[in-house]
């Protein structure tokens, strides 16, 4: 391969790219703007900002000790923002998306729940009105609600008036029930102890009234976000900048491929082909200039994210560079593919825009792949963007070492080799 023509091709393509103000803005400014926006949305709660609360409504039609206690628990919960509208208002709010979930506690809930608690009553129903687009919040509310209902019901049943009554009613019934004798004895002993517990005089304020404790969650949770280290926060900008930089460098390379079609239309490939330059040099020159431009787009975006949003490469810097370069080479060979398979610049533009958008969507550049259904997550391993995004995530906020870069680099270079060989075999070399 001749060095002088190769370097001249790279230099010329860089000059052309940088002389086109529109492409420079689209490649450098737009991804930074979009990534900043998405980063601010997807960023985990920072240390100084309140976690987002889920807006819920409770309609207490019961007004029993238990239902009031559920409402009090929900009001005190840090993950919930509680409102108490009428049912009609609540339905409207949920439909408009202003409230994620509305909980209706029907009349008689407390009574029925208390009876069901000791196992011999019909279970009452709690209605959840929810916004179908907010499934994750519904699941969270369901879990949080379980805690508050269990606490309220058990507190009342082990310490409240309703519990005392329930035990009194249940005890006589046991003797006449069809339970085996041993179990009968055991249950009666237990309820007798409960009754004794009720009849104890309250020892101090903490034991009385609302200070009484029902069943509580038998554990507390210490949550540790598995990022690069115990004191390093997840930085949503890492992901958004990786995703957007990759999207726009792919656009830039698709455009470079289309520029090759335009070069052909304008007769420039006649000059290239009439010169004593090998086909390998011509393709390598194009691939090299594309890889350099792609790498510039990626590194400029990350430099911005590092300076402005404190994104850090917590993993291996070498691994980060390796993935960046492999991604840039993959993108530039994708450009060659566009040039080889495209007919006219206009048709190629439409098809490649669609292809790039599909790749970045499926590759998790817009939304992380973990929210995809399982089958789609598995399918997206055939999308090179997925490997690039996951690899860059691994090197930035996940803080994985060089070993975590090896497979993404190998896979991206594999894609590059495949793209390049298809491009070389399908490229039109005749300039008729």
């Amino acid at each position: 391969m001749a060095l002088i023509p190769l370097l001249a091709m790279v230099r010329k393509d860089l000059q052309l790219f940088l002389s086109d103000r529109r492409s420079v803005i689209v490649s450098f400014v737009v991804p930074i703007a979009i990534a900043s926006f998405f980063g601010s949305i997807f960023s985990g709660p920072g240390s100084n900002s309140e976690p987002a609360r889920i807006a819920i409504a409770i309609i207490d039609q019961d007004a029993s000790a238990i239902s009031r206690s559920i409402v009090a628990g929900a009001r005190a919960d840090k993950s919930l923002k509680l409102a108490m509208p009428t049912e009609a208002e609540a339905r409207d709010e949920v439909r408009r998306g202003k409230t994620a979930v509305a909980v209706i506690i029907p009349k008689g809930f407390g009574e029925a729940a208390g009876n069901a608690f000791f196992g011999n009553g019909e279970k009452p129903q709690l209605s959840l009105l929810h916004d179908p687009s907010r499934g994750i919040e519904l699941a969270m509310v369901r879990g949080i609600l379980t805690q508050h209902v269990m606490e309220a019901v058990s507190r009342e049943m082990f310490g409240g008036e309703q519990g005392r009554r329930a035990v009194e009613q249940t005890l006589p019934g046991i003797a006449s029930s069809s339970m085996p004798a041993a179990e009968k004895r055991a249950l009666m002993e237990m309820l007798n102890s409960v009754q004794k517990f009720y009849n104890q005089p309250a020892a101090g304020g903490a034991q009385a009234g609302t200070g009484r404790r029902g069943l509580t969650m038998p554990y507390n949770v210490r949550e540790e976000a598995m990022t690069a280290g115990s004191n390093i926060a997840y930085n949503g900008y890492s992901h958004s900048f990786a995703g957007m930089a990759i999207q726009f460098l792919l656009f830039a390379m698709a455009n470079a491929g289309i520029e090759m079609l335009i070069e052909r239309q304008r007769g420039l490939w006649k000059r290239l082909r009439s010169a004593p330059v090998s086909r390998l040099t011509l393709l390598a020159g194009k691939a090299a200039s594309g890889a350099i431009i792609s790498l510039m787009i990626l590194l400029v975006a990350f430099a911005f994210a590092m300076i402005v949003f404190r994104v850090r490469i917590q993993g291996s810097i070498l691994g980060f560079l390796g993935i960046s370069i492999a991604c840039a080479v993959m993108a530039s060979t994708f450009g060659l593919l566009v040039a080889a398979l495209g007919n006219s610049p206009a048709t190629a533009r439409g098809v490649t825009t669609l292809a790039v958008l599909m790749m970045v969507m499926l590759g998790g550049a817009w939304v992380p792949t973990f929210i995809f259904p399982a089958w789609l997550q598995q399918l997206t391993v055939i999308v090179p963007v997925r490997w690039a995004v996951d690899g860059l995530d691994a090197m930035t906020w996940r803080g994985i070492g060089l070993s975590g870069a090896l497979i993404p680099v190998a896979v991206l270079l594999g894609f590059a080799a495949a793209f390049a060989s298809v491009a070389a075999s399908r490229f039109r070399w005749e300039e008729g």
């Binding site: 002088i4 001249a8 002389s19 009439s274 330059v277 005749e430 300039e431 008729g432």
Partner: protein, 257 residues
């Protein structure tokens, strides 16, 4: 007694070239030669096969039949050094509009392995010849059509080729620019370059052509000197023979039949 002497091979020898696109035979059994210091006019109407012929000579298109010999040898592939002996001036304005004339020429020169001061000298000489030295740093997009044509010519002769293939180098150029280009070609002829000049117009080649090859529907229908051609054509009342009249005489039909 006549001694048998070796006839030196022609600088450019085109033998029985043929090329078709699908069922259309664009070039059919085309042969002619070109010698140093000579300008051959390749004359023919639209679609006659001129550009396809030029493309085969430059190695852009592989002929189905026939061969192109440069000093008696075929081109041996993409990187054959003999390609340096050919300079192509394409019919299209094959230039990067967003780059300056100098950047364009730097790139085209580098394709031929030129670098450093050799490249700088070649660029200066080429720009000087076509009269664009003072506009060398301006973007080509700001050039007039005639200036672009001249730069297109400069790009083809940057590496000082012996054979210049000029595919309609004066299309869309005003008479003054055309004269400037003709002056350039005179200079090149005097430097012993071999020139192949493609055009629709008889008048274009009258001034410069030593020989005229007339093509129609892919075939050579005449290969003669200007005088020879003129003598075969009934020139209209003492005027000049045009492609139109040549055509009428050679084919018995008018150009736009």
């Amino acid at each position: 007694m006549v001694l048998p002497i070796d006839v030196p091979p022609e600088m450019l020898d085109i033998k029985h070239l043929r090329k078709s696109f699908g069922s259309l035979v664009a070039v059919d059994d085309v042969s002619f030669t070109l010698a140093p210091g000579q300008l051959v006019g390749l004359l023919g109407p639209n679609g006659a096969g001129k550009t396809t012929t030029v493309s085969m000579i430059a190695g852009l298109v592989t002929p189905e039949q026939g061969e192109v010999l440069i000093d008696g040898a075929r081109l041996g592939g993409d990187t054959d050094p003999k390609k340096r002996r050919i300079g192509l001036v394409p019919q299209d304005l094959a230039l990067y509009d967003e780059l300056s004339a100098r950047s364009n020429l730097r790139f085209f020169g580098a394709l031929y392995g030129l670098a450093g001061s050799a490249l700088d000298k070649a660029i200066a000489a080429a720009l000087e010849l076509v009269g664009l030295a003072d506009r060398r740093n301006d973007r080509v997009a700001t050039y007039s059509g005639g200036m672009k044509r001249r730069l297109n010519l400069a790009a083809g002769l940057l590496h000082d080729p012996d054979i210049l293939l000029l595919d309609e180098p004066t299309v869309g150029v005003d008479p003054q620019s055309r004269n400037a280009i003709f002056d350039n070609l005179e200079v090149l002829k005097s430097r012993d370059k071999a020139l192949l000049y493609t055009t629709h117009y008889m008048e274009e080649v009258e001034r410069l052509a030593d020989r005229i090859v007339v093509m129609d529907h892919g075939k050579v229908i005449a290969d003669d000197t200007l005088d020879g051609l003129q003598s075969r054509v009934a020139a209209p009342a003492g005027g000049h023979a045009t492609l139109e009249t040549v055509f009428l005489t050679l084919t018995g039909r008018s150009l736009r039949d």
